[in-house]
């Protein structure tokens, strides 16, 4: 069996909300182990694009292949074994503990009814350790701060043991310490577990530091696709965000940094 070299194959997908075209004929491919960042202004279609890739919505035209198999031919459960999705502001209803939340990530691997096994507990705790939130295990999720909650939800995604991780704006509630930790964790996931990661982000510098490839989106279209050095440039960024920015190189890492117009 030939090894499949593409993790995600997005072929000319479109999606509209009523009359408004949110994603307009987008095509690109993602290789396994890539760290892909999706940047763009509000309303560019980043969240919609990630929803489509994760299988949460169906494109009105076009096709998405996950590790060689078309999205629409997969059951929810099958897809869940391959991709984990972390939403922008996950909702919580009733009081459950952080550990119970992380354990939900084990769902695709457990039969529909029944209780979690010891292995599941260990995987969950291991995932929490990776994100540095294991001390929160017995705490009530509704009592945690935004940042702590986000780490728990990331742990849940990791406990799912997917091949790919899709994250919609994970940087929102994180302070600089946690941003840094998140960056290191995602890099670890790619290095240790070979995970493919797609992140939609507001924070341009975070994406630049973390990702191996950046997509710039505007009005539902991809207007630039390439490594940070090619995409995080003042002209490209100005076209995307319709505002003047300055860029410079980080002396230590060599990655481009984006600075506001003075």
């Amino acid at each position: 069996m030939p090894e499949n070299t593409t993790a995600f194959d997005i072929r000319e997908i479109s999606f509209s909300y009523g009359n408004r075209m949110a994603v307009d004929t987008v095509s690109f491919a993602v290789s396994p182990g890539e760290l892909l960042g999706v940047l763009g202004p509000n309303g560019a279609g980043k969240s919609t694009l990630l929803s489509l890739i994760a299988g949460n919505r169906k494109p009105s035209s076009g096709e998405i292949l996950l590790f060689g198999k078309p999205n629409r031919k997969m059951t929810c459960r099958e897809r869940a074994k391959k991709i984990a999705f972390v939403a922008q502001s996950p909702s919580i209803a009733y009081s459950i503990t952080a550990l119970e939340t992380v354990l939900m990530g084990r769902a695709p691997h457990i039969p529909a009814t029944g209780f979690e096994s010891k292995l599941d507990i260990e995987t969950a705790l291991g995932a929490m350790k990776m994100v540095n939130c294991e001390e929160l295990a017995n705490r009530d999720i509704s009592e945690l701060s935004g940042g702590e909650r986000q780490r728990v939800f990331l742990a849940r995604a990791i406990a799912q043991q997917p091949k790919a991780l899709i994250m919609d704006e994970p940087t929102t509630f994180l302070d600089i310490g946690h941003l840094s930790a998140l960056r290191k964790t995602i890099a670890k996931l790619r290095d240790q577990l070979g995970m493919t990661v797609i992140i939609a982000a507001h924070d341009i510098n975070f994406a630049s530091a973390l990702c191996s490839r950046i997509l710039l989106m505007r009005d539902g279209r991809i207007i630039s696709d390439g490594p940070p050095q090619e995409t995080i440039r003042s002209d490209r960024l100005a076209a995307t965000f319709q505002t003047e920015v300055r860029t410079m190189q980080d002396p230590q890492t060599g990655r481009p940094l984006c600075l506001m117009d003075s």
Binding site: T75, A93, G105, F115
Partner: protein, 333 residues
């Protein structure tokens, strides 16, 4: 205490609740306006008429109705993420009530009234499902709104019928609406059980996936659970249970609202335990409430019975307040 639900905790809790239910049933069978020696009666001696003919069907019906109402109440509270949800919120009960009252208004034979109620429930379920699927693939807010409006419509029709019937019929309509456990014989109780018990089992099997729905639709999908399918399954299952309960006993309030909350406050929100535990606790609660309703005044000067809904509210509400305060104190420590 472990922070997640283990098999041990599950089995332990269910066992204790089952023992409580059996105790409640014993209490119900041994109390009434007459005095009956249970063991003598069971052996066919004096009082076996009363025990088997009057008390047994009523106590069993109370258990089954309590089971149906509490477990579907809990399921709806989870599904709709709304602590105020009760088993009547989604509109099926309005259709059931309308069915029974229309049957009364059209002067159908009494034995048909329960059947008409259940038919009303099932027609409502289909109507609401069609509406929700067509419009919104079962999103919670839409489901709730549809249910509320449907209930309002059914009750308007009920009031209309009420204005047109005779005095005796109007009084009977009231009787159907406030809820009563008097009416059924063992045969009909068995039919109701056949609708409710499998429903509870199915709901309990769906419980794990209901847990996952608590994360949100997109996240649920991402761990492999299809939200609209699960919501539809829970809705159908609960509708059959609630339809059977209302057809058998009218609208008995508070059980479906309080009992799941009390269970949630003591045993936690994991639906795998919450649903079956609410079912068993609801059964015990309603058996107790009905026994009190029919005995507390019957040997006093008043010598009359109270409607069961009065007792469910009078016991349930203070109990709930006590538990709520205890819980609030805990989390704000």
């Amino acid at each position: 205490m472990k922070s997640y639900l283990t098999k041990k905790k599950f089995l332990f809790s269910i066992s204790i609740l089952t023992v409580l239910l059996l105790a409640a049933i014993y209490f119900g069978l041994s109390h009434g306006s007459g005095s009956v020696d249970i063991f003598e009666a069971l052996l066919g001696g004096a009082g076996s008429d009363i025990l088997l003919g009057a008390r047994l069907p009523r106590v069993l019906l109370a258990a089954i109705v309590g089971m149906a109402l509490a477990s579907s109440g809990g399921a709806f509270q989870t599904l709709l993420k709304n602590p105020l949800a009760d088993p009547f919120i989604l509109g099926v009960s309005g259709g059931a009530a309308l069915g029974s009252i229309a049957a009364l208004g059209f002067r159908l034979p009494f034995a048909w009234i329960s059947g008409a109620a259940f038919l009303g429930a099932m027609l409502s379920m289909i109507a609401i499902m069609w509406f929700s699927r067509v419009r919104s693939s079962f999103r919670s807010t839409e489901l709730m709104l549809t249910g509320v409006i449907f209930n309002a419509f059914c009750f308007a029709l009920i009031l209309f019928i009420n204005a047109m019937v005779t005095m005796e019929e109007a009084y009977q309509i009231l009787f159907l609406l406030i809820g009563n456990l008097e009416e059924m014989g063992l045969g009909l109780v068995a039919i109701t059980a056949a609708l409710v018990i499998p429903g509870l089992i199915i709901l309990s099997l769906l419980a794990r996936r209901m847990n996952i729905l608590m994360l949100g639709d997109d996240e649920a999908r991402s761990v492999g659970v299809d939200p609209s399918r699960i919501r539809a399954a829970v809705f159908v299952c609960s509708s059959v249970m609630v339809g059977a309960a209302v057809a058998a006993s009218g609208l008995i309030g508070f059980v479906g609202l309080f009992v799941p909350h009390i269970v949630r406050l003591t045993l936690g929100a994991d639906n795998r335990l919450l649903i079956p535990a609410s079912g068993i606790a609801g059964a015990a609660f309603l058996v107790l409430a009905d026994t009190i309703a029919r005995t507390i005044l019957s040997n006093s000067d008043y010598a009359t019975e109270l409607p069961v809904g009065v007792i469910t509210a009078l016991i349930g509400a203070p109990l709930f307040m006590i538990l709520l305060r205890k819980n609030m104190g805990k989390s704000h420590a």
